[in-house]
């Protein structure tokens, strides 16, 4: 009886604070500017003539660490919903985290490529755009990987020396961007072998719920995966995000993948993923030996 009462009080308390038991996640020192740490440069670009996604326009940003040396191929990491990851005052602050981790030698010299989803602008100012985010991120198949490999990477490679070693090429994203990152590596493991998923949508938006089943019966691919998820994540018409991520983690374990699954208490946002970004990156890039 006493236990019941305590539980009831706890539940009421959670309800009143609206936290549903979520922990407070805060950004650590690796996500803050530190004195004496060299600062990389972020430049903004626009892609307006995609052949893979005709009619789409989008912004992308390129982060180049101060330690970059054009004589040595740099590693790269591609982020979907890139503007969100590139913001220095956002939940992830990737340029700051990269500066700190590269400076400490916790990850190799790595270029960041931050890509926003495409939009087909309307032909009249009063009309609405055709938003391409779900089509690009939630669809299974190799179309988005082809877009990266045929359109984005060649554009960045014009100015920078990027590694062709798939173990030196990582990809990440949040929500539909998370499943998108997985899909790219799944389709093209010869091009990307490190995946970072934040509250990934391994649900049935456009069929992505099948991965957990496919992984178990497919010859394992050489992909390293970090999955972050939250107990209070979405449960909607497309699926249940915590269950879907648990299924993914269980399948990756079953099939013998090099994976790490971290279940937090947050909802569909980047608070937890942002707070643990430095340790996620250390885990993904651990033991990486640059070629040459």
């Amino acid at each position: 009886m006493r236990l019941l009462l305590t539980t009831a009080l706890l539940l009421v308390g959670c309800f009143l604070t609206g936290s549903k038991g979520a922990e407070q996640y805060t950004l650590g020192p690796d996500s803050q500017r530190q004195e004496g740490v060299p600062r990389g440069q972020v430049t903004q670009h626009e892609l307006t003539d995609s052949q893979v996604y005709p009619g789409t326009v989008r912004d992308y940003w390129v982060y180049v660490p101060e330690q970059y040396d054009a004589a040595k191929p740099a590693c790269l990491m591609v982020f979907q919903d890139g503007g969100n990851y590139a913001k220095e005052d956002g939940q992830f602050r990737v340029p700051i985290v990269f500066d700190n981790l590269i400076h400490k030698g916790d990850m190799p010299v790595t270029l960041g490529i931050f890509i926003n989803p495409g939009v087909i602008p309307p032909s009249s100012p009063t009309a609405v755009a055709r938003r391409n985010r779900s089509f690009e991120y939630d669809s299974l198949g190799d179309q988005y990987a082809t877009f990266l490999l045929n359109e984005i990477l060649p554009a960045v490679s014009k100015d920078y020396n990027l590694t062709t070693d798939p173990d030196g090429r990582a990809i990440g994203g949040i929500s539909s961007g998370g499943i998108c990152a997985w899909t790219v590596a799944w389709e093209r493991p010869e091009a990307f072998r490190k995946v970072l998923s934040h509250v990934g949508s391994f649900t049935n938006i456009r069929g992505g719920h099948v991965y957990a089943a496919m992984i178990r019966k497919t010859d394992p691919k050489p992909i390293r995966v970090f999955l972050q998820e939250g107990e209070n994540d979405l449960d909607n018409l497309h699926g249940n995000w915590p269950l879907a991520n648990r299924q993914m983690a269980a399948s990756l374990k079953f099939a013998g993948y090099d994976y790490k699954f971290v279940m937090g208490t947050e909802g569909h946002n980047g608070k937890h993923g942002g707070a643990i970004l430095p340790e996620s990156l250390r885990w993904l890039w651990r033991d990486y030996k640059p070629q040459n």
């Binding site: 919903d81 969100n84 032909s123 938003r131």
Partner: protein, 293 residues
């Protein structure tokens, strides 16, 4: 730089908000089921709503067009329809139709008298914008045609395998065309001169086991931008990002051929299914393209 940042934040807002989910529970009303409007027809098609909310449909093999009044009464509107198939109301109260028997696109006035606006074309389904521009599908040639408001016609796309239903987004600047044989609905951007660009398989439908294609046929949209399509699997609908959001069950054993919103408040789905027509009240509100300013 500031402007750029502001613009960027504004662009990102819709991407990051999760409020756009459009589940079945936003559309259906608990306790409201499909209700039979009429039966005993041969093959019903072309449901179209007028300015008042009356719904017209055609019984293709029997050459008749019927009207369903607001009171639900079914009366004959046209006695000799020459196998009129797809229909929709355009500006000035005219009912546009694909008259397959005479290979014409026509408009019917309120007394049911036809005026020919295009000849030597085998239209299946059509949509009319607020200016009176017409897009129609011609399955026999895999072509989409455009008839300008001054009735000049030209082909604006070719190649969808078994094209069929055709509809506009509420803003009338995106066109969507169904492929009965395929898995996807195709979206196009409409240019100022009526031409089409950026063809994309934007919507992927649910398939029925044992059926090769979707069976996608007629289409309609609502004020929220949801897009509905009649298929083998039922009446499927999609949100504004092209994500399948619900499959409303077919009430009988005949395939749903077409769909529109009708009724006084435009909140009632009407579907044509073989020998029958059904309706069902919803929480959604349909679009009449001629209503837009």
């Amino acid at each position: 730089m500031l402007n750029r940042t502001v613009l960027f934040v504004l662009l990102l807002l819709p991407v990051m908000t999760q409020g756009q989910d459009m589940p079945l529970s936003d559309v259906l009303i608990e306790g409201e089921a499909w209700e039979l409007v009429g039966e005993g027809f041969k093959f019903t098609e072309g449901p179209a709503v007028d300015a008042v909310g009356n719904v017209f449909f055609t019984d293709v093999p029997s050459d008749k067009i019927y009207k369903v009044g607001l009171d639900g009464a079914v009366t004959t509107f046209v006695d000799e329809s020459h196998r009129t198939s797809g229909m929709i109301f355009g500006p000035n109260g005219k009912l546009y139709g694909c008259r397959r028997g005479l290979k014409q696109i026509v408009t019917y006035d309120e007394r049911g008298n036809a005026t020919v606006i295009a000849e030597n074309v085998d239209g299946n389904d059509l949509v009319v914008n607020r200016e009176g521009g017409v897009y129609f599908t011609e399955p026999s040639t895999q072509q989409i045609w455009y008839i300008s408001p001054s009735t000049e016609k030209r082909v604006v796309d070719h190649g969808i395998e078994k094209l069929n239903g055709i509809i506009l987004w509420p803003d009338q600047r995106t066109l969507v065309v169904a492929d009965t044989a395929g898995e996807n609905l195709w979206a196009f951007r409409i240019e100022d001169d009526g031409s089409l660009r950026y063809k994309q398989p934007y919507y992927t439908m649910r398939l029925t086991r044992g059926q090769e294609g979707s069976g996608a046929d007629g289409l309609t949209v609502d004020t929220m931008g949801r897009l509905y399509v009649a298929t083998h699997a039922g009446l499927q609908f999609f949100d504004t990002q092209g994500r399948i959001s619900g499959v409303i069950a077919n009430p009988n054993d005949k395939r749903i051929s077409n769909v529109t919103f009708g009724g006084e408040k435009l909140d009632t789905l009407f579907i044509t299914c073989g020998n029958r027509v059904f309706r069902r009240k919803t929480q959604a509100t349909g679009i009449r393209f001629f209503d837009a300013e």
